[in-house]
């Protein structure tokens, strides 16, 4: 039935594939943190439980157990009660029961409660952090991708001196780990020259609001994190584009276009477009690495985004928080991948015609 609508069919198939991937990711996200033998409630009790009487501690522990779905509960609302065995001890839930509860909660948009910021919900902490991360990462990745590809295509087409100087430079840039570059920028431009602030998303004395002061402060704090991600990304993209461009230059259709006497700008347009397509697929494949690297850069700059939320969570063994952030990251990477996949399907007739380039399956 869908045969008549190849585009719709294509989108649905890719969508279905990503949904399966999402389910696997959720499962991994649930089970991996449970590899260790420790019980999160013990950790949280160890932190806050000192100085409490045994009875108080027991009540508090049972409250946490219930909160984190580690014990069976009967009834609902006001009549909720912990199910107890014959000795009066709470009955523990199995891992699978916890998993089912977890999935149910995820589907309702509930990622649990933070240990560290108890009783604050994980979702609320993430909601505060996400705008910062999006504002930093989306423009940086897009700019880095565009600038890198344009420069890479020029290097491939022109070769000569431009390429000889540019290529090792770009290769060097792409060899920098994200966070290392961030550290160097902080050292030189924040600590050394005092041109830009070293930390945070805005100055301490401004309150986030729709005011000029806030936006100018945020912009000032934006510069260093932006460049530390942008430059490395552009370097890496330029290198990929350069070798794709050189490859495309040798193809028959470029030779034919020259034989036909097409204008140089047209030949370059052919070249750029076709070399760009694998680069888009490549972008999809490396999005995970990029976003990961950018999150670590956020940590270097103590930028108030997801990276920082993750770092704080890790330092405090705040498992629900760690899990929440990783799930959000994975989900965004999947959504971004899906978007790129569909986009390439529209841009490259070969993909829909069945001759898949790059991404198989």
């Amino acid at each position: 039935m869908l045969k008549q609508y190849p585009t719709l069919r294509f989108i649905l198939m890719r969508g279905g594939w990503y949904f399966i991937t999402f389910l696997v990711a959720v499962t991994i996200n649930f089970y991996l943190p449970r590899l260790g033998k420790h019980n999160p409630v013990d950790i949280i009790m160890g932190k806050s439980g000192s100085g409490m009487s045994t009875e108080d501690a027991r009540i508090k522990e049972e409250m946490y157990l219930q909160e984190f779905g580690l014990v069976k509960v009967s009834g609902s609302g006001a009549t909720r009660e912990i199910v107890r065995d014959s000795e009066g001890k709470p009955v523990r839930t199995t891992g699978f029961e916890q998993f089912v509860t977890y999935i149910g909660m995820c589907l309702k948009g509930d990622l649990g409660t933070s240990f560290q910021k108890y009783p604050k919900k994980v979702v609320d902490v993430i909601k505060e952090a996400v705008p910062w991360t999006l504002a930093l990462q989306i423009p940086t990745i897009i700019c880095g991708w565009i600038v890198g590809n344009v420069l890479g295509a020029m290097a491939a087409y022109r070769r000569g001196i431009f390429d000889k100087v540019f290529f090792p430079f770009a290769l060097g840039l792409s060899a920098f780990p994200f966070f290392v570059f961030g550290m160097l920028l902080v050292y030189f431009f924040a600590v050394g020259f005092h041109w830009f602030p070293a930390m945070g998303g805005y100055a301490n004395n401004v309150i986030p609001s729709f005011s000029f002061e806030f936006f100018s402060s945020a912009a000032h704090h934006y510069v260093l994190p932006f460049f530390s991600i942008f430059l490395i990304l552009a370097g890496g993209q330029a290198i990929g584009m350069r070798s794709m461009g050189i490859y495309e230059l040798g193809t028959d259709y470029i030779k034919y276009a020259k034989w036909l006497g097409l204008k140089e700008s047209k030949v370059l347009a052919y070249l750029f477009r076709n070399a760009m397509l694998p680069q888009i697929t490549g972008l999809a494949l490396s999005l995970g690495v990029m976003i990961g690297g950018a999150l670590i850069t956020e940590m270097i700059f103590s930028y108030p985004g997801l990276g920082m939320a993750m770092l704080t969570a890790i330092q405090n063994n705040d498992y629900p928080m760690i899990q929440g952030v990783t799930l959000i990251i994975t989900t965004s990477v999947l959504i971004a991948n899906f978007t790129v996949d569909v986009l390439i399907g529209f841009l490259d007739p070969r993909v829909k015609a069945g001759l898949q380039i790059g991404k198989g399956n």
Binding site: T251, D252, L262
Partner: protein
């Protein structure tokens, strides 16, 4: 009057170590209006290099060494790349490449590639005119014009792609067409369709003069008036198609005929014999006859004495001992 003249043309590649590789040396011939010249030879004999030279298209590392190419009396040498691009390519000399599968930009519709060609050579032509002319021209080819024009290359069959390429190459009614192995990699039926299409275009006067390059001599006998055989960058024999195919005089041509599984009825039983050895390295200067190393009838002096083209009967042969 000769419409296409090639005079002592030499072409070389410049490697990045400054070494010159003389891929084509001392090529001369002239063609009259309406003539079809076949060029044959082993792969690597300089055919494809020659094609670029004949179009005046010198993209580094390819450079002209000496000689001249004239279309309608007008030289293609010493012109700026932009002049060649605009005034020679597609208009005066056009090229039908081999392997049409990859010759069309895979991400562009056939009509857009064709429109690019028109836009590159005609100033002030608008889109509507371009597409009208396209449809008119493609209607001549016996294909489902609308569908082919609106398709991406991958949606077309091999035959449709090759015919589209021929259509695009001849769009601007070039004075000269160079077809470089246009039928290789096609099945026999499609080959016939493509050959028929080329001759239809000749008949309709879209173009009249053609160089047909192939390694299939039997095919050349049917399509070409004259045949030139190339070896190691030189033309070693040139005569009418009948002469070269049935009565070769140069030892290389003879060997080539033997090496080819002939489709001629009388030669069915003849087994193909491979030519021993390999062509000389063109990066080094060669003193004597280039074929001497592999020639079954070579004399001791052949390796020292440079062979020049001479007239044997009414054909040209580059061998002092040919009769």
């Amino acid at each position: 009057m000769a419409i296409f003249e090639v005079e002592k043309l030499g072409l070389h590649y410049l490697t990045r170590f400054g070494q010159k590789i003389h891929a084509v040396t001392d090529v001369s011939f002239s063609m009259d209006q309406g003539e079809i010249l076949g060029i044959a030879g082993e792969s690597g004999c300089g055919k494809s290099t020659l094609v670029n030279g004949l179009m005046g298209l010198f993209i580094p590392p390819l450079y002209p060494t000496c000689g001249d190419v004239r279309v309608d009396g007008e030289s293609l040498m010493n012109r700026t790349p932009e002049d060649v691009r605009q005034n020679v390519l597609s208009r005066k000399v056009s090229m039908i490449p081999q392997g049409a599968f990859n010759a069309l930009n895979p991400t562009r519709k056939v009509k857009d590639i064709a429109a690019d060609v028109m836009a590159a050579h005609m100033k002030g032509i608008d889109k509507k005119q371009i597409y009208e002319r396209l449809i008119e021209r493609f209607n001549l080819f016996g294909m489902d014009t609308k569908r082919v024009l609106n398709s991406h290359p991958i949606q077309l069959t091999a035959g449709e792609r090759q015919r589209s390429v021929i259509g695009i190459s001849t769009l601007l009614n070039p004075q000269m067409v160079i077809a470089d192995e246009p039928t290789s990699a096609l099945d026999v039926t499609t080959q016939k369709v493509v050959i028929k299409m080329i001759f239809d275009l000749l008949e309709k006067g879209i173009f009249s003069t053609m160089i047909f390059i192939t390694h299939e001599l039997p095919l050349l006998r049917h399509v070409a008036d004259n045949i030139a055989i190339m070896y190691a960058g030189e033309i070693v024999e040139k005569g009418t198609a009948e002469q070269v195919v049935f009565d070769p005089r140069h030892p290389y041509t003879k060997a080539l005929m033997g090496a080819m599984l002939s489709a001629e009825p009388g030669q069915k039983q003849r087994k193909p014999t491979a030519i021993e050895g390999a062509p000389p390295n063109l990066a080094k200067p060669i003193e004597g006859c280039r074929f001497a190393e592999r020639c079954p009838s070579a004399k001791p002096e052949c390796k020292q004495k440079k062979q020049e083209i001479r007239i044997v009967g009414d054909r040209q042969v580059r061998c002092d001992y040919a009769e």
